[in-house]
Amino acid sequence: MVFDETDRKLLRLIQTSLPIVPEPYREVGEVLGLSETEVIARLRLLIENGVIRRLGGVFDSRKLGYSGALCAMEVTAERIDEVAKVVNSFAGVTHNYLREDPINMWFTLLAPSEEKLAETLKGIRERTGIQEIMTFPAENIYKIRVNFDLD
């Protein structure tokens, strides 16, 4: 998707904050010199084209009472698709990346409790036959930046 300078300005603004007011799109429009209708139309296009994944709240999993961990496992090249299908089928797996390392499959797992987290890992072990899944829960968070510069 090709977007223009106005789209960039719009994205820059609403990545960091969308006003929590009765008419948020009208307020955003006022800042950018656009009508509410135009803001909504541009956002609709950005969502349809997948540039915006979601509009709304980004939650703090821990504060919602969820437990999480970065997990890693070694998967042989010929099994990657099959194992990824199993891993991804669990709702608590939100991200999964192949990375250049012998330990090549890295995924993030969230669950409503530590017990549920362990249960999911057990399920993944059983269904993939891969016993060693390393788990790395966050012990300290120094930065989470979610907005990207658009310049």
């Binding site: 969308l18 009765p22 948020p24 994944r53 709304g56 009472g65 990375r99 499959m105 120094y142």
Partner: protein, 156 residues
């Protein structure tokens, strides 16, 4: 912090995304059977309490030209982790920085996500961080495929 059933309901509805209508909170409030005013107050409170980290758009960075991404893992002496974490977090190119436990097969305890337009850019950033933090034991794990990327669905 114990969440009320009302708050859980708000999270359930909000994670569906804010509707693209003139009065989106009013639309959601109707679903929840509450007033627009109360919902707006509750959402603001959830932001204040930090349960909502940010209220806005989640953008797919790959579409914005940030095609290279590397997880840089660092083996940092335990006594230096906090200081190193702070130094690394200050880099613009670093989007995430976490301390995580080591593992017998994996000696690294500090993780930074680095995004760049090219691989070379990521390598250079890691080198600059290495010099700034005085740390030489690190490895870049470039991603070769995104197998899944989704938003978590809470309380379902």
């Amino acid at each position: 912090m114990e969440l009320s059933e009302q708050d859980r309901q708000i999270v359930r509805v909000l994670q569906e995304g804010l509707p693209l209508v003139s009065r989106p909170f009013q639309a959601l409030a109707q679903v929840l059977g509450m007033s627009e005013e109360t919902l707006i107050m509750d959402v603001k409170r959830l932001v204040d309490q930090g349960l909502i980290r940010r209220f806005g758009a989640t953008v797919r960075h790959q579409d914005l030209g940030y095609v290279a991404n590397a997880m840089v893992v660092w083996d940092v002496p335990d006594s230096q982790v906090h200081e190193a974490g702070r130094i690394m977090a200050a880099f613009e190119e670093v989007t995430h920085c976490y301390q995580r436990p080591r593992h017998p097969r994996w000696p690294f305890n500090l993780y930074t996500m680095v995004h760049g337009q090219t691989r070379e850019e990521c390598l250079q950033v890691a080198e600059r961080i290495s010099r700034a933090a005085g740390l030489e034991k690190y490895r870049l794990l470039f991603s070769t495929a995104e197998l899944k990327k989704s938003s978590m669905r809470y309380f379902e």
